[in-house]
């Protein structure tokens, strides 16, 4: 890891190849709950990213001192400390957002993405890559949330960031803002991601087979 370390690759993994929500399927509760509007989605994504970066930093710093047996409890204490700090900051500076996200800010504590990154990455890697991992995974989470929030807000209210986009003749399909819409939209979104991944996989396979055939043909020609 330390010899061939590349931040670009980490970002690409967090955003696309290994996206925490769309590919790893983690952190479903906030994903489904707060994506009624793009503003909420962005706020939630950035709050979780801030917590993730801080917790990855501290856990990576302390990784040699935390005993193996009590590591999960230690991680939870560290994470909930940062979540409380973020909660108080949001209450002080972004009160509207704090109001609309409601209980889901303290619930960042039990967001599986943060605990999963602490366990799988920060506890095994040096400080700088861990911070970058927090940035990459946090951005991936935010990206997925904003995507989902944009689709739901556009279809369900006809607005983006609260501005009317689709014009006054558009009849908003309220379903998409209501709870069932969250499940349906996320299901369709993940199906689209799987479709893209299937197509890419097939292409890779076909390219490999082609290459194999070519090399076989070349070998036969040489023999002839």
């Amino acid at each position: 890891m330390s010899t061939k370390y590349s931040f670009g690759k980490q970002i690409r993994e967090g955003l696309f190849e290994n996206n925490p929500v769309l590919v790893q399927l983690l952190g479903m509760c906030p994903t489904l709950a707060v994506t009624t509007s793009i503003t909420n989605a962005l706020g939630m994504g950035l709050a979780a990213t801030a917590v993730l970066i801080c917790s990855n930093f501290l856990i990576s710093l302390l990784r040699k001192f935390i005993p193996k047996q009590v590591r999960i409890a230690a991680y939870i204490v560290i994470i909930s400390g940062f979540v409380t700090a973020i909660e108080l900051l949001m209450k002080a500076y972004f009160y509207d957002l704090y109001g609309s996200l409601g209980l889901f800010i303290p619930l960042i504590v039990v967001n599986c993405i943060i605990l999963a990154r602490a366990e799988a990455f920060a506890s095994r890697n040096p400080v700088i890559p861990s911070i970058m991992d927090g940035v990459a995974m946090g951005l991936g989470f935010t990206f997925a949330l904003v995507l989902l929030g944009a689709v739901r807000e556009l279809l369900g209210a006809g607005t983006l960031f609260g501005f009317a986009v689709l014009g006054s003749r558009y009849q908003p399909a309220l379903l998409f803002i209501q709870p069932p819409g969250a499940f349906l939209t996320l299901g369709l979104l993940i199906a689209a991601v799987q479709k893209i991944r299937n197509v890419m996989k097939d292409k890779k396979k076909a390219a490999k087979q082609n290459a194999q055939k070519k090399s076989e043909n070349a070998g036969e020609e040489e023999q002839a």
Binding site: C29, T84, P106, V110, L115, G187, I190, Q194
Partner: protein
């Protein structure tokens, strides 16, 4: 709160404000542990057990410790630690004294620490200014709603196993779409209001 109000509150918590389908608390175990009705029921019972107990304990700690020392801003940290400790304690207790129950619920218990339904039930009771009895009833009813949702959904997923969806929809997307349809059914309850 009179008894009627208490019962209506519980009924509302089970159906109208169902933790999964209208609040999205506890979606991870809902989507993760709902492949078979048996395991879903086990998970639901474990959650009910832990949620009711943790609701009672967190209410006591909040009211008698945090409020009197003016430490209410520490409630998130305090609650998650209490829940984690409680889950550990319940696991040890069941293993020692009620092995039958332990063998039924044991494997689900560690998963519950990071189940956001448990934490949010505790936080919601504080937010709504419930008294002790109301808190316990609310947590119990919410957990019943969770159990109902996960068991019903497990029944749906058993049927889904025989479906033959397009390749892109296989696995998780199909599960989510089924959950969406079930959520639509549950949103029929939202017209009922008990407040």
């Amino acid at each position: 709160m009179t008894l009627t109000e208490l019962l209506l509150m519980m009924f509302g918590a089970i159906l109208v404000e169902n933790f999964i389908f209208s609040k999205f608390y506890g979606c991870c175990p809902f989507l993760g542990v709902s492949e078979k009705p048996d395991t879903a029921l086990g998970m639901g019972m474990a959650v009910t057990f832990v949620m009711t107990l943790s609701g009672a304990v967190t209410w006591c700690v909040y009211t008698f410790l945090l409020v009197s020392f003016e430490l209410t801003y520490l409630k998130t940290i305090a609650f998650i630690l209490i829940i984690a400790a409680l889950v550990q304690f319940i696991e040890m207790f069941l293993r020692k004294y009620i092995p039958a129950l332990y063998s039924a619920l044991g494997i689900y218990l560690p998963l519950i620490t990071t189940n956001c339904a448990v934490l949010s039930a505790a936080l919601l009771s504080i937010q709504n200014d419930y008294g002790f009895v109301e808190t316990v009833c609310f947590c119990f009813a919410s957990a019943l709603g969770f159990t109902l949702a996960i068991v019903v959904f497990a029944g749906v997923r058993v049927r889904l196993r025989f479906a033959n969806p397009p390749r892109a929809f296989r696995g998780f997307p199909l599960t989510l779409l089924a959950a969406g349809l079930l959520a639509m059914a549950f949103s029929g309850f939202s017209g009922m209001s008990f407040r």
